[in-house]
Each structure stands twice: as structure tokens, then as C-alpha cells.
Amino acid sequence: MDVEKYDDDLYNMQFVLDRSLKLDPARLIVVRPYDAATMKAVGIAARNGIVHPFLVGDRKRLKEETARFNIDPELFTIVDAGDDDLLERAASLYRDGEAEFIMKGMVGTALFMHVLLDPRWKIRTENLWCHVGMLEIPETKRVFLMSDGAINILPNFSRKMLIIKNTVEVARKIGMRKIRIAMLAAVEKVKLPAMPATLDAFLMKKFSKTGFFGDCEIAGPFALDNAIDTGKAVAKGIVGTVAGMANVLIVPNVETGNVIWKTITCLQNRSAAGVVVGGNCPIVVPSRSDDYSTKLLSIQFARLLL
């Protein structure tokens, strides 16, 4: 793989996320952390002073789980709640200012998000919510942000604008100085009507000249290889500062984002971090099948966004 590294690129995901170790512990609500991966991730985050967790669930069970993972009782708070009012209890902790952000444990994502979207919890804003993933592909010597592989199924142009706006904000918060955004599609030219993603990508590049997204570069459409590999981009005669050098990937639909995410985490067995942004606080919504490492990195990622 041909890569060219800009000096100011973020090139190591762990290095980026370990900045969270230098921050004060943030109060994290963890809903139903009954699985080993969540408990282990939260335990490590608590021990390292990244968070002070509020574990919401059945007190007896949580006491057993924390003991099993040797988590010092001083490091967490248990909020006793039965399954009937568990999510409401958790969300009210945020509303009442008891905690700063929230994480999903063994709860269905749809139900979890549905409850959090209720305006009375003051998590929802007028902004669009989207999932931003942080991925590391060592061969590219770059850390990537990718959106949206989880929330917005088939975003239209307007929604893509908001997804990009959210992702640019995340990029700035994690310290990306040169934000180079690739609008992903399957080909580099506009193909109508067969490939509407190519049209959105082409028009988004033009729209970015208005300055709506601030200091960043947007280009597209790109096939994935031409977005991240300069050699491939050059071979196809694709030029520009984003070609082969992208550090933010905007996917056309949730399937594409999900496949990229799972390719990295399942096929390449690498860790990734993901967080839902757009609300008043970051929300950690890992898949129940994610390993502890992905969950821990996601907590760290969310902590950087506070």
C-alpha cells in the first residue's frame, strides 16, 4: 500500500485516546453492564481515572459483577433499578446533572436510543444524531474517523451535511488539524441515476466551498482505495489533497459503514472506537458483541468529546 504521511496526521489511535488519561474522571452512566466485556472495560476506565461509573441495574447482580472483576467499590456508584424503569432512571441521572455521559450495556440499541431521544431527558437537541467511528489502519499510518455506520440508514444530502458537521466537530476535538474528508461511493465519477451517492459526493464537494463546514477539505466521489491510498489514487489519475490522504470517511449508507467497521474489527481483528454524537453529550453505544477493548476505547473516545 502506497501511503504518504502528513506530519500533522494522527497516526496512532491508542495515543490519541490515551489523552483521556490526563483528564479529570468524568461521570459515566452505564446501563445494565451485565456482560463481561462492558464490566471489564468500565473497570479499567475507572481504575485509570478516565471515568467514575454510575452502574445502573440490579444492585445485587452489580455487586457480584464488580467483585468478580476486582473493581474497588470506591471507584463506582451503583444505582439500583429494576428492568422496568432502568432506562428512565439512567437518563434522569443525566438530566439531573449527576453524570456527564452515558453508555449502553446489555440493552437493545433501538430501545436504548428510543428512550434517550425523549426530550424530557435533555440529551436530545435539534441537531442530527450520528455515529462516528474511529478506526486505525496501520498500513495507512493514519487514524480515521468514519460516519455514519450505525444510526442514519440512508441519509439524504441534508442529513449528510449534518453528519459531516458533527464529524468535523469530533475531528477538531480529538486534535485533527488537517481534516480531509472523502465522500465514499463505488466509483470516482458521477453515475446517474444508478449511483446517487456519487451525485451527493460531487455536490457536497461544491457545497463545501461555501465554508459551511469550516476549515476542512471535502472531495469525492471516491472508491475507498482511492480515498486512503495515494498510489491507487495516482494510478487512476485522481488528484487533489484529499485523494489517497483522507482522514475522514463519509459513507453513503449504513450498510457501507457497518461493513467497513466489521471488516476492521472482525476480519482484521483490530479494535475500533465509536460514539454517537449530536446530542448534549456523547453516547457510547457499542454492539453487545464488541470486545472489551472496543468498549474501553469507545469510553475514552467519548471522554475526549466532553
Binding site: 441534508s158 446517474l192 455536490l203 457545497f207
Partner: protein
Amino acid sequence: MKYTMSCLVFNRPGVLVKIAQSFAKENINIYSLAAGETEEEDKSRMTIVVDADQDLMDKAEARLKEIEEVIQVHDFQGSELISRELLLIRIRIKAEYIPQILQIAELFNAQVIAVSEMSMVLSLSAEEQRVNGMVRMLMPMGIQEMSRSGKLAVGSPEQE
């Protein structure tokens, strides 16, 4: 008042002129006229929209029926009809208007069918009022070129 009528005619040279003359003789302006082959190759159906009084329309209709090539004249007045118009419209691409143009297209269920660095072409097939609505909304964005098919109509199946 606007009238929509459908003429089934034999597809022969000069028919269009004769039909146009029937309206011209009554001093009726043709608002739109769309013609095309039917399921039978030698026959065409014309959907004509005119703006006229009832008296003048009756006279024009009588004239139409006298034309040798005219097989059937159907006035849709007072009856249910299914109508559509095709719009092709080329809009200048000005970066700040892109989201609005796409939102309008989505609102009206129009498709972007071609794009270049400078402009894009939208296509919409809809009822006349919806076509008018989209044109009005796109007007401030910079319409470079526009072409409308005129109304196409058939009777509603519920009337059979």
C-alpha cells in the same frame, strides 16, 4: 376557464394544422398540446389544454368533429382524469443553493438526471400544479433552461 380535451386522430400529415385551425377560427389560444402514438400505430392521441369560454369551446369542438382524420373528441370537463406533465429543467449550480435545490427536488419527488460543474438537470413527472410549484420554488436558484411536455391525460379508471 381551462379545458382539457383528448383527440384521437389518424396519424397523417396535416392533422395538427387542421386541429390548430379549429381553435384559431374561434380565437382560442392553445395552452398546451401533447401528441403521441397510441396502442395502434396509425392513430395518435392529442391532449389539448385551452383557455376559453364555454360557447367558444362548443364551437371549436364541433369544428374538430368535422375534421376527417379526427376519430373521437373527448372533453374531460366534469369528469375525472389522470393527468401528468413532464418537466426538464436545467439549474445553474451555485454552491450555496445546492442543499435547497436538492431539498426541493426531494419534496417534489424530482430526479437529478444529469450534472456538470456548472449546472444540473432535474426531471419531474407530476400533475400540472406540482410542476408549477416546483418551477416557482426553483425560480430564485437560477433556471437556465426549461422544457415542459404539456399535459398528458387519460380518463380515470373509476369511470369505466
